[in-house]
């Protein structure tokens, strides 16, 4: 029976003896993960039956079998997550597969130097994510009440004929929305800078639409930070403080973590 090799992640050889994989289940949940030493790093792998898993069959599952994708995505995440609790780990993309050990070795050896540098840069650190949501309606009400320019404009509009009022109100609305968006960006960027100061490194991510988050309020900010473990509590306290100070103004802060260093392990 031919096997494919599934690669979950890379850990430093120096840490391999510290912990065992402790019967961590493989992709099919019938066998266990294996450590495969390649020079100064260790590949964390499992075997997959090559007659069952091909490029086409996996592509077909990903495109058409959402239940399978959900189950296997959880498996991959959970595995890398558990590895990151035991070792410094470079998390590989879902379904990174090799036809044989030689091919896996070649690919790792080609990248080994970069891998070792990355492992060094993420050792003792964790990835944390911050998402910020804003209640736009509340922000707008507050802006409308507290902004002198908006107040003056409203007074001006009330003097106009009914028909003109309609159009001018629309224009005012549009202007306020633009101003609020700019304000949201300025505040979020300032917070991001403060959090970057606490962390080793920070990245701004794409925000997601309400369709995807399923939340009532739109996502205003999405960012990730690579944190030294001992600074995590301070980082979370800071976020809790933002939440306390800004909740009444319609801001909501959500931190999640620790994540394996997905955003800080790039080899390119």
């Amino acid at each position: 029976m031919d096997n494919l090799i599934y690669l979950y992640g890379i850990i430093p050889e120096s840490e391999a003896a510290d912990h065992s994989l402790d019967k961590m289940k493989d992709f099919e949940e019938t066998g266990f993960l294996q450590m495969l030493p390649v020079d100064d790093v260790i590949a964390i792998t499992c075997l997959l039956d090559a007659s069952k898993y091909t490029e086409e069959s996996i592509q077909d599952k990903i495109d058409n079998d959402m239940e399978w994708l959900q189950e296997k995505a959880f498996h991959h995440h959970e595995t890398v997550m558990n590895l990151s609790k035991l070792f410094t780990v470079i998390p590989l993309k879902f379904c990174t597969l090799y036809k044989n050990e030689d091919s896996l070795r070649t690919s790792i050896l080609e990248n080994e130097e970069k891998m070792l540098r990355t492992l060094e840069s993420i050792a003792g650190k964790e990835e944390w994510n911050l998402k910020v949501y804003c209640d736009d309606q509340l922000l707008k009400e507050q802006f409308s009440e507290n902004n002198p320019a908006a107040e003056a404009k409203r007074a001006e509009i009330s003097e106009l004929s009914k028909g003109r009022q309609f159009f001018e109100k629309k224009k005012l609305d549009k202007w306020m929305e633009t101003e609020i968006e700019a304000e949201k960006d300025t505040v979020s960027e300032a917070i991001h800078r403060e959090l970057c100061d606490l962390s080793t490194c920070g990245h701004v991510k794409k925000t997601w639409s309400k369709d995807v988050t399923g939340k009532k309020d739109p996502m205003t900010w999405n960012s990730v930070y690579l944190m030294e473990v001992e600074k995590v509590e301070q980082f979370l306290e800071r976020i809790q403080q933002y939440q306390k100070d800004m909740k009444a103004a319609g801001w909501q802060f959500e931190a999640s973590g620790p994540w394996p260093a997905y955003h800080f392990s790039s080899l390119s």
Binding site: E55, S256, P260, S266
Partner: protein
């Protein structure tokens, strides 16, 4: 409990997992090349799947409730008939 522990134990949204493992996981040259559509698209498909399963479960629960209530109705009807029936001589 530290803040860290309270955050750590929170449920993570599936889209966060898909985003990191499909999009942000480190890519190195592999033998099998699998391409993934935009993560938001994959996730929306999943949401449709999850919500259709949920509505199926809800529909089944509603059917079960209807069943129960018609049983209850029958019982009440019997009780009423008993109460209003003329006593047997």
């Amino acid at each position: 409990m530290s803040l860290r522990e309270s955050v750590e134990n929170k449920d993570i949204a599936l889209i966060d997992i898909l985003d990191v493992i499909l999009d942000k996981g480190v890519a190195i040259k592999a033998d099998l090349v699998i391409s993934i559509a935009g993560v938001d698209l994959v996730y929306l498909d999943l949401r449709v799947l999850i919500s259709s399963v949920e509505s199926l479960v809800q529909a089944q629960q509603q059917d079960a409730r209807k069943h129960v209530s018609s049983e209850q109705f029958d019982k009440q009807k019997e009780a009423l008939e008993d109460a209003t029936a003329s006593p047997h001589q």
